[in-house]
Symmetry: C2
Subunit: 305 residues, 2 copies
């Protein structure tokens, strides 16, 4: 799957991923209204609204981008119907040949991590049958519990040809509270990064590992160090745009080959129509606004090479 | 909700929580068969089997215990129908007046943590209506992202009178890889514990905070230190029994008042009928075996006072 991601990034010349993180107030009025008319102001209605909204964005951007990253929390907040919309979104994106990164930030130990890995990347056996359920291509994982928490994910990835992005240095202001603390002369995130490189060596693709890392765009100096600590790990970079990361700041996350990083934008793309710059598209044209925002983002980011 | 938990622990004289972590091979054959007969060997069939299994255990133990802790990963592995079984289990346990600790180990930043908090502890607004969906009483949360990741949970807890257990020192063998690393002379878990105490001071119940901590039973010396670092935080203690924690080792997790800790057992209770000790109950008597295992666990743990 890392090979497919690299191939698609090369083909599209777009080291970006669109974050499908729908809030109800992002969804244009006409879509919301139709969903509520059909299902009422219910979790089912909300789930239908975000699914239709996602579908519009996928349809108008899939030829330009390698991947999407649905953030499961935004679906989980609508309960069981919301999670059905997550499943539908993953399935539809894969039908459009997009790589799907499930931003689930799961992490536990032993059999529990194995159950999460099964849920999101693997197959579950029920009686004599096997099912792939949420079935993303990659999942994000939290490293706080150490190797016991990560190995069950890697085992499933090996079997299913799937991958991970492990949180190393997150993009938020308080990420430093624990992640930046100094241990034997080096910050915790470097130790985690080193461990990611080690875990990743166990499951290599052609040029990069199936085990990548999350490093926020808001900390380019740390990105520079982490790039060297984990040379074979793809870096998923959140925090561009809305959170303040700039294209110029992204250079250190990439390797000399122009590969090695994939930059996420969520609100900047999916809510483009709510920005002044794209207001001309109107709410009815929200999907076209997203397409234009993707084109602009690709241009912005590739300008650094 | 922390007040209710403390009250129920006093009433039952049982500082324990039953972990509802169903695997399909834990479910007695007769329940599995009936579920598959009705729904096929499908995720719906599996979800029905684990729900019926849970119901039996709740029905036969609810008068003895203050709380249950469903581990969402075990439901998530059965996809959307599995999560519907999780929702049903939470609802049913609450109908039996049990406190429900959702072992979800979520954690993200800003609006994403807020969405998780809404999903598990809060209310979601859909049009003019509000819904409580998964609606646990407590949720477990991962601290790796720092205050930005925790505050949105605390905000929802304040509004809804609910609580958290934040991972401090987990029970697994490799938990030390990052959690035990020394920072300015003290291990990371102590710094996290200190932060938990600080977060907890913001949202106090009568005698304990709404913000508790997870500290594994497998590390009693660390439990002793953390008890002092977070005197007002309830400690949720996994790792008793199957993972090797002993009753004697649990003493340091409690305060002088005999309160301050709640000990989880999952397999030891819900799979009791598969143990030699309780084999006499047979698979048909799995729920009674669980009841006896609860009685034995309470006796074992209260013997330390």
């Amino acid at each position: 799957m890392i090979n497919k991601l690299v191939k698609k990034i090369k083909e599209t010349n777009a080291p970006i991923v669109v974050g499908l993180d729908p809030m109800l107030n992002y969804v244009p009025e006409h879509i919301r209204k139709k969903a509520f008319d059909n299902f009422g102001e219910t979790p089912e209605g909300a789930a239908e609204a975000i699914w239709q909204y996602n579908k519009g964005i996928i349809d108008s951007t899939y030829d330009l981008i390698p991947a999407v990253k649905p953030q499961i929390a935004m679906y989980e907040q609508f309960g069981v119907p919301g999670l059905a919309a997550f499943e539908k979104t993953v399935k539809y994106a894969k039908e459009k040949d997009l790589v799907v990164i499930g931003d689930v930030k799961r992490g536990d130990i032993g059999s529990t991590s194995a159950a999460y890995a099964t849920a999101h990347l693997g197959k579950i056996q029920i009686g004599t049958k096997n099912y792939s359920l949420f079935d993303e291509d990659f999942a994000t994982v939290n490293p706080y519990l150490g190797t016991d928490g990560i190995k069950p994910f890697i085992d499933v990835c090996k079997k299913e040809n799937k991958g991970l992005f492990i949180l190393v240095k997150t993009s938020n202001p308080s990420s430093g509270e624990f992640q930046d603390r100094i241990i034997d002369g080096r910050p915790l995130y470097e130790w985690v990064g080193e461990q990611v490189a080690e875990w990743g060596a166990e499951h290599m693709g052609d040029s990069y590992s199936y085990v990548g890392a999350v490093v926020g765009a808001t900390y380019p100096e740390m990105g520079r160090v982490l790039r060297k600590v984990m040379p074979k790990s793809y870096i998923l970079v959140p925090g561009y745009g809305a959170q303040g990361g700039t294209a110029e700041g992204l250079r250190p996350y990439f390797n000399e080959d122009g590969l090695g990083a994939i930059v996420n934008s969520s609100r900047g793309i999916i809510c483009a129509y709510q920005q002044e710059k794209y207001a001309g598209f109107g709410a009815e044209g929200y999907a076209e606004a997203s397409r234009q925002a993707v084109i602009d983002m690709i241009q912005d980011i590739t300008s650094i090479f």
